[in-house]
Symmetry: D2
Subunit: 148 residues, 4 copies
């Protein structure tokens, strides 16, 4: 990826509440479900830029898919906890993006303060043809919206 690196982007923030559906019999959020939280934050970040994915797919025949993710789980999260889930675009290429994401505590209970880092991920997103799933260049107008 011949990439542009963005210095210290201001992170997009999205609140997430933990419901029964998110937890498992260990009493904490099931490890796969953080990927749902991160996806919601990315979707809302795109929406904040005027990008609706369903409409985008209808109009361009393309869609974003995740091609790689690295996740570190730092502290357990429990039912009723409130999180802030961030999304920051840290690299843009011709066919893919790299997004840094964090889940931070909004609930004082966790470590006796708010803002503690609970989970973080680096996610690579590729642009593909929505029928064939072949990688394609991100359409220029979309790339402009993303990096404006």
């Amino acid at each position: 990826m011949s990439a542009a690196t963005h210095d210290q982007p201001a992170a997009f923030q999205w609140p997430v509440r933990v419901y029964w559906e998110d937890t498992d019999a260990g009493g904490i959020v099931f490890y796969a479900n953080y990927l749902k939280f991160f996806e919601r934050s990315r979707t809302e970040w795109l929406r904040s830029l005027g990008i609706e994915q369903q409409r985008l797919k209808n109009e361009t025949g393309g869609m974003f898919v995740v091609t790689e993710s690295t996740i570190r789980y730092l502290r357990p999260v429990r039912l009723d906890d409130e999180l802030i889930v961030t999304a920051s675009l840290i690299e843009t290429g011709r066919a893919s993006l790299i997004i840094k994401q964090q889940a931070l505590s909004k609930t004082e209970r966790i470590k006796g303060r708010t803002g503690a880092l609970l989970c973080e991920a680096t996610v690579r997103i590729g642009w593909v043809n929505a029928s064939t799933f072949q990688p394609e260049r991100i359409p220029a107008p979309l790339l402009n919206q993303l990096t404006a």
Copy 2:
């Protein structure tokens, strides 16, 4: 639904194991997840009749959707438990089916015996156009496969 009622159908049976993903912080299977188990059993019942839903959609442009379900939760189910999940076609109409489903214990731990009823559901399935989601008549060859 001008329906044919089937007497005492032999129930299709499908084994399901309970994993972390199925449980919640109460220590038991989350109530929505039984609908996943029931769906798996219906899908495997259809497959046992030679019906693959993805291929069916490609070939006919139609698909089954659930239009109604009633579920009774009788006993809690825990991590590592094994279930038998049944599917019995009890009514067929022109545009819909009614399927009776049960989740039974395969694990001796539950009530000290196997076969205890854990959860049961009655599910109405309609046939719809896969693009418009408008109800349509179930294609005759499909109906024949279902009731053969």
Copy 3:
């Protein structure tokens, strides 16, 4: 259930956005996932009455579980759609509650207007000992909070 019936309760309302995680390959919300939406709305309704379920479990050793639900699926819901999910207490007994829930469209796209009914459910909730899962009487202070 020797029950008190409540006339026309003002429904509690909770907004829900449809994300990728909620949809399936049919292009619409997977039928089990409405039960997640309904659970979120019930949890937020309880919270609006000052009831936090994790704390309640720690303090009383009891918890609510769903014992029965009936769901009608009326219209398909798609990615990016916005819903209003209601919760209304319609009956209270000594050991259980009956809650009526609706998912209404907040998105004009559906039927060209907002407010269209998409899915509805009647859910019976029982109070159980959180270790043994045996039904028990709902603690009086809790019952007072629910019906105040």
Copy 4:
């Protein structure tokens, strides 16, 4: 982690079928759901060694949690596809394990042959006190079972 590295472990294999619940509106398996598949395979690998996690938690007061995972998504997977999901212990430390996992095609449709690599992950698992979630040494008998 003062770790033992295992050369070319024989991978444990577990079959997984793709159901509606696993897919999203893109027509393919939702990216978080591979973590469910990988968890199932790890659980069955443990079971094949005589380790039941629920019983283990009851007996030792400890449990495994995922502390890190890296996932590469190589090819899209669709409804009805069949996968083989592997689990190989590649490193054991005093308080954690590293497990390599792959999802391979069992369906000829994918790339016209079976065995194509669809998704792979490296997962670090830590042993924690099940109440406090503090890291602890893996009990010696458990470690013996894992590396026997």
